[in-house]
Symmetry: C2
Subunit: 316 residues, 2 copies
């Protein structure tokens, strides 16, 4: 696992530097509540606060690992032509993910106080600022995807294709739709098929998109896309099952967010519907299936393999 950690660290660092370049410049105001004075930077501060709060950067790293599976990310050609666009696309995925956390944590939604080890955006700032920061982040993702810098070394057709994929994965057919259904299902016992459907939208769709986007930017052919799509489909669900388990078994400090909250809210989760042991077995079997999908691939898929294993390893 050490090697994966180095891999994740390396790319997480590059993703973070790239996010710094994308974000509006730092404000001077810290996180005090509105003082009455007009503070032009409060929005930028809130966006930065939530985006740079740490976070595992799993989606960007998956995106990059998918590119790695398709082309040599250490080659000069990659460095010259593909790396910057790949990083920007990876960042846009993290930005979309972060916006969804900011909005999901709002009092009217999941009402969470802790995220990534610190106060959620609406607690550190206020509700209105958190709503707008989420809106600003979501919009920023699409600004990045259509930016001149992004267009410098990528075919416009490819950019439109990944923009479309990310928007579909994030919108009413994907993440937003999944979140809505998840909330409506609180306090109702769901059949397991419905839970799977919700999770595939809420978490799976953007993870799927992350892998697709990386592969597409790296120039994957239809065969590679299909194989990686199978991998990401299983990984996306495994990730959510593992998250459900961590909400029971994890500790707040390591997770950076409150645990035990699903049971409190009588949420539909895999452990609630299947029990803890069967949920763990399901996660393991999904990871196996993900690994199987890419078993014919060479060593360049090792980061993808390591990420798959990490998903269940982090339970321990």
């Amino acid at each position: 696992m050490l090697e994966l950690e180095r891999y994740i660290d390396l790319w997480r660092g590059r993703v973070n530097s790239c996010l710094e370049e994308i974000l509006p410049p730092e404000g001077n105001t810290g996180m005090q509540g509105p003082t009455g004075a007009v503070n032009a930077d409060r929005l930028a501060d809130a966006m930065r606060y939530s985006l740079m709060a740490g976070g595992k950067r799993i989606r960007p790293v998956l995106c990059i690992a998918a590119a790695e599976a398709v082309c040599d990310t250490t080659s000069a050609a990659f460095r010259r032509k593909t790396e910057d666009a790949l990083l920007l696309a990876a960042c846009s995925l993290e930005i979309v993910h972060t916006y969804s956390l900011v909005h999901d944590d709002l009092p009217a939604m999941d009402d969470d106080d802790l995220r990534r080890g610190r106060a959620t955006c609406h607690v550190a700032f206020d509700e209105a600022t958190a709503i707008l920061a989420g809106d600003g982040l979501l919009t920023l993702a699409f600004e990045v995807l259509s930016s001149e810098r992004m267009q410098r070394n990528t075919e416009p057709g490819v950019l439109l294709d990944i923009t479309h994929r990310i928007s579909r994965a994030s919108g009413y057919q994907g993440m937003v739709g999944g979140q809505m259904r998840d909330m409506l299902a609180e306090r109702v016992r769901l059949p397991i098929e419905d839970l799977e459907r919700i999770h595939r939208k809420k978490t799976g769709a953007l993870i799927d998109a992350a892998v697709y986007v990386g592969a597409r930017i790296a120039g994957a052919d239809a065969h590679q896309i299909a194989r990686l799509g199978l991998y990401s489909r299983h990984i996306g669900l495994a990730f959510q099952v593992a998250d459900d388990i961590l909400n029971i078994e994890g500790d707040t400090e390591r997770m950076g967010k409150a645990v035990g909250t699903d049971a409190e809210r009588s949420k539909n989760t895999y452990p609630a519907l299947l029990g803890l042991d069967k949920s763990k077995a399901l996660a393991a079997s999904l990871v196996d299936r993900a690994l199987k999908a890419i078993e014919a691939s060479d060593r360049r898929s090792d980061p993808l393999r390591a990420i798959a294993l990490y998903i269940i390893e982090r339970n321990r």
Copy 2:
């Protein structure tokens, strides 16, 4: 004015039909609060409720009028090649505008109950649904802009360019940034320059983008873009000054939203800072400047001229 009304009616009808095609299919649930049952269509219902609530469709019509100023919208070539993309782009502008209304009306923001003549989204549904409906709409706009249908007859480079323009106009540098500053400035007296800066972001940026997008899709050259940009800059500000005036002089029934609310909240508005008469004079002078910017243009710019006049006419 009758001719403009026919023009707006014609294109509003086409925009509405196009929005119908874009929206997720209708749910079966009406607007009851959550009953506990899992309702897959609640999100789609809320998105539709807010988007199809009427509305003047000023931004789409401006977008189309800008295209009209550049090319012949009655020609067979336009109908075959450009019209569909223009309508889709116009719809994406209205979708972005509607999302911003849904979020701005939220209790944590402006806390408005009435919009477009009916209950605001969070009143008709609930707060969580309204947040998600706004998110779903914003994402949908970018899904539309990058869709295959949009790509059918438009250069990918043009699509990326208009996507970038719309995202910048809507995000932290534009609409979202303007809304943040506007809220922070409540109960503080602003200098008129700051108010102008806020309004240029909050309302002006998207109106600017609407004109730019229409012109760009119609194939405007740099000279035409510059001229139309000057027009839209003045119109965008005039529109907000007029809106401030209507918040005092308009009636709720005609406006479809509560009036008198700015004064209640001690908001910074043009009438509050300049007085009513000077505000009217300013709106008229901005419209004059907008008309001046396109005075060299032929009759194809008449819809743009009529819209400019409509902005101050609607005060009477």
